[in-house]
């Protein structure tokens, strides 16, 4: 893409986050230009009829950050991204808590939407995180969804927008 390099940030953290602050930081990184598309994922309250009392999020330190940075670079190569950020929490989380935030700033709203959804789809299938749900019946590792793999696959080959 022409112009200055997009600002890209990745954070893997135990702490909760504030979506307004993250969005302000994203905008500063884009010289206060561009519209923002953002996605926030939360811990489910139940999954496949099982009540979720809490969730343990494990990851592969080092590989996680690198794989997300690569996902962001792929997004910036496909769309005119001004800035992109991913924050992903790890450790123990309660039902309804925020897990992940993805924000993309672009002068073109369709690019902001597409890049944000692309990043989420790849995050779901490429970044080494694993969710374990804890409930009254004990622990249960969340299964990967075939659906997520096919969502990610649809970005391959086709046109950029």
């Amino acid at each position: 893409m022409a112009g200055p390099l997009p600002m890209m940030t990745v954070s893997v953290q135990e702490a909760d986050f504030d979506v307004a602050q993250l969005q302000e930081a994203l905008r500063s990184g884009a010289q206060q230009e561009g519209a923002v598309a953002a996605f926030t994922g939360y811990v489910r309250r139940s999954n496949e009829q099982r009540q979720v009392e809490s969730m343990e999020l494990e990851h592969y330190p080092g590989m996680t950050e690198n794989s997300i940075a690569e996902i962001l670079q792929q997004a910036a190569a496909r769309w005119p991204v001004l800035a992109a950020s991913v924050v992903h929490r790890v450790g123990k989380l309660g039902p309804g808590e925020r897990i992940v935030w993805v924000g993309v700033s672009s002068s073109h709203r369709e690019a902001a939407f597409s890049a944000c959804e692309f990043i989420m789809d790849y995050l779901k299938t490429r970044a080494p995180f694993w969710k374990k749900e804890l409930g009254p019946d004990g622990g249960h590792w969340v299964s990967a969804r075939e659906h997520d793999t096919s969502r990610a696959a649809r970005w391959q080959g086709g046109s950029a927008q």
């Binding site: 494990e58 592969y60 779901k124 299938t125 970044a127 080494p128 995180f129 694993w130 969340v142 990967a144």
Partner: protein, 84 residues
């Protein structure tokens, strides 16, 4: 020396998160390393590491199929990811 890591369900099933292995010709590729681990640890490891959807990464990059290894490499075994 090879560093070998296990994550999530695999780590629990093996009751092992990480181990180190002296460098030797028998572990000069991924399949050799996996066979070496199974031979050393028994049927439980053979069953767990032989699961269909096992993902293997070398130096934090996912690898499809076999791949040569070098002294000092970091190898990881993990199930399909479920973040986001």
């Amino acid at each position: 020396m090879l560093k070998v890591l296990f994550f999530a369900r695999i780590k629990e099933q093996l009751d092992c998160g990480a181990l180190e292995l002296e460098w030797q010709d028998a572990v000069a590729d991924l399949d050799g390393l996996q066979e070496q681990l199974c031979a050393a640890h028994g049927d439980q490891w053979r069953e767990v590491l032989g699961q269909d959807n096992m993902i293997r990464a070398v130096n934090q990059t996912v690898v499809d199929g076999n791949r040569a290894l070098r002294d000092g490499d970091e190898v990881a075994f993990f199930p399909p990811v479920t973040g986001g």
